[in-house]
């Protein structure tokens, strides 16, 4: 049974992505008691799935390593993984949260040796790689996962694989009788950091993400560019595994659109500009990138990043929202159809691979928040006084890049600290 010791002076952080992790660490390092609840088996969220950051083109693993070390060293921080908040009752300074913890079937004796993964054979779509690759039924979600503990997929329970994993484990960490449990505990303030998800590209009917293999999303492209990813860092066409040399990026795929997301997702322009660097890095002058855009929104100090990409002769820009994608049946090449705004030329351009720069959508649907909270038209949390001691951090409050999400999370942590300080003042 999981025990959580918490009081009205504890801060509950919901979501352990870069925003939640930051808020939790900032608060815990001021001496506050913090409980971090994360749905995935590890912390770090979608940042762990990025190859590089813009604008410095440095690796997210670097910052993650620092944060994970801070988390390991801090006695004030309790991390619950594979856990979801199902209910929050009460008011600022006195909340009671209910948390459902799913069984991991691996206890904390796990040394991360990987013998269980070697012993099992069934394979499943790897959610960490957005289904581009496969993983075993006993797995470590990714190399740097924190906590460094394997997970057993409930799908192998009752099969030979489960027994094999249990027998293989020398540390006695595999516990196939683990049950789902619900714990409830107190909290004085809540930092809500449930983050974002990529917009479902299947909904953008004219782009044929569901019909054409060589149409992928920007988050998938990010996995593809990563040397630790499913293709070993090779940019290839899913249809035939050939190297993709002529790549199109479609901006605002699902953003700024009445039929999809109303808001500008803000990061997709920079993400695409960054990804043209991946193409350049992988293929040199052989790799050509073409960006189809309505307008490039390289916010504030990123303008010079945009200008650098503009100067690259291997990257071209076409000012046009692509109307539809069709497929050349002979070679499975996607064909982009539209009219460009600078000159009104009609085009039907064939590419090897199309990357849809899909937008950011809040992870939690408007209707399924376990607590009363003010949400705007786009589904993001408003900074409203009615929210009491619940403060949004990161992408649950707006479409943000990592830098801004972290800044905002620090702000949310401070607000939460003020609430528990008031509680401390009255309780003495």
């Amino acid at each position: 049974m999981t025990e959580v010791i918490a009081t009205n002076q504890t801060i509950l952080v919901v979501g352990g992505g870069i925003s939640g992790l930051t808020a939790a660490l900032e608060a815990a390092e001021t001496g506050k008691q913090v409980v971090l609840v994360e749905k995935r088996p590890y912390v770090g969220g979608r940042v762990t799935q990025l190859y590089k950051y813009f604008p410095k083109l440095c690796y997210p693993t670097c910052g993650l390593e620092i944060n994970q070390r801070r988390a390991k060293m801090n006695p004030n921080l309790t991390i619950l993984t594979m856990a979801e908040v199902t209910d929050i009752q009460g008011e600022a300074g006195n909340y009671t949260a209910s948390v459902k913890i799913s069984p991991r079937y691996v206890n904390d004796n796990c040394t991360g040796c990987g013998d269980c993964a070697k012993a099992v054979s069934a394979e499943f779509d790897d959610e960490y790689n957005y289904g581009l690759g496969k993983r075993k039924g006993a797995y470590l979600p990714h190399r740097m996962a924190h906590p460094q503990r394997y997970v057993i997929d409930p799908a192998i329970l009752g099969t030979e694989d489960a027994e094999k994993a249990k027998t293989a484990c020398k540390a006695g960490a595999v516990d196939l009788d683990m049950q789902e449990e619900t714990v409830s505990f107190k909290a004085g303030a809540v930092v809500w950091a449930t983050g974002w998800q990529p917009y479902d590209a299947n909904k953008i009917q004219p782009y044929g993400y569901d019909r054409f293999q060589n149409v992928i999303t920007n988050v998938e492209f990010e996995r593809m560019a990563d040397p630790n990813g499913p293709t070993g860092g090779k940019i290839v066409r899913p249809s035939d595994g050939e190297v993709a040399k002529n790549i199109a990026f479609i901006q605002c795929a699902g953003s700024r659109d009445k039929n999809h997301l109303l808001h500008c997702s803000r990061i997709c322009c920079m993400a695409t500009l960054k990804q043209t660097h991946y193409v350049q890095e992988a293929l040199g002058d052989e790799g050509k990138s073409t960006i189809y855009y309505i307008d490039i929104r390289a916010i504030d100090r990123f303008e010079d990043f945009y200008q650098t990409v503009r100067e690259n002769p291997n990257v071209s820009f076409i000012k046009s929202k692509v109307a539809s994608i069709t497929q050349n049946r002979e070679n499975s090449n996607p064909v982009l159809n539209g009219v460009d705004t600078e000159g009104y030329h009609r085009y039907a351009n064939e590419h090897d691979l199309v990357v849809l720069a899909v937008g950011m959508q809040p992870s939690v649907d408007k209707s399924s928040f376990p607590v009363d909270i003010v949400i705007n038209e786009e589904g993001f949390i408003e900074p409203a006084t009615e929210n009491g001691g619940i403060f949004a951090a990161g992408c649950s409050s707006d479409a943000l890049d990592v830098n801004r999400a972290v800044q905002q999370a620090t702000g949310a942590a401070l607000r939460a600290i003020q609430v528990v300080n008031r509680v401390a003042g009255t309780e003495g």
Binding site: K258, I294, K321, V339
Partner: protein, 207 residues
């Protein structure tokens, strides 16, 4: 050029966009266009006409009054609604196109030999006579719109079709003499006349 055209030109001398907003059905949406080009790319007939919706909206904002109103583009719209379905800003593009066509017709600026507008006029005149469309006469009017010789040629070319339609009782040769209609033709004509007056007053008020 009609008097109405002169009056409108005078009144909106500096802003064709304002003229469109005030007088064209759904015209107030034109300023919402962000020139992404999805309508132009989605139009199945887009390569068959000179001005796509995207281009027309930009021309309106650039004050190209003459070019917009005498364009045949809005007459080529087949109302497939692809543009409306895909427009990220939710502009009722098809309706704006029809609105522009209607306004151009009002001002007498439609290209004379534009076949869609010729058909529309013939259809309207046909309908107004009896309150029902007389398909035989409508077909004949279309055949003979470019003169007697061309009419005979057109009729001969479609002879088989006509005969088949008569055999299947889809067309009646007796319709040529009078033809069927509604009970109160003059009542309908009065209604339409009143509607015309209301619309004329609106345009006069705007001019």
């Amino acid at each position: 050029m009609s008097d109405l055209n002169t009056a409108m030109t005078e009144r909106y001398r500096n802003s064709f966009l304002m003229e469109v907003e005030a007088n064209v059905e759904e015209g107030e949406w034109v300023k919402m266009c962000m020139q992404c080009g999805v309508c132009a790319g989605s139009c199945p007939l887009g390569n068959a006409w000179e001005h796509t919706p995207q281009k027309l909206f930009m021309m309106i904002r650039a004050g190209k009054r003459e070019a917009v109103l005498s364009s045949d583009a809005m007459w080529m719209c087949t109302s497939c609604y692809n543009c409306i379905a895909r427009c990220p800003r939710g502009l009722p593009i098809t309706h704006i196109m029809h609105g522009l066509a209607h306004y151009a017709k009002r001002l007498g600026l439609v290209p004379k030999n534009q076949p869609t507008q010729q058909f529309s006029q013939i259809f309207w005149d046909n309908l107004m006579k009896k309150g029902r469309v007389n398909e035989l006469k409508l077909g004949l009017s279309m055949y003979f719109k470019d003169g007697f010789g061309q009419g005979i040629k057109n009729a001969m070319a479609n002879k088989q079709l006509g005969q088949n339609m008569m055999k299947a009782k889809r067309m009646n040769a007796m319709e040529f003499f009078g033809g069927h209609g509604i009970k109160d033709t003059s009542g309908l004509q009065k209604m339409i006349k009143k509607a015309q007056e209301i619309e004329d007053a609106k345009y006069q008020g705007n001019s």
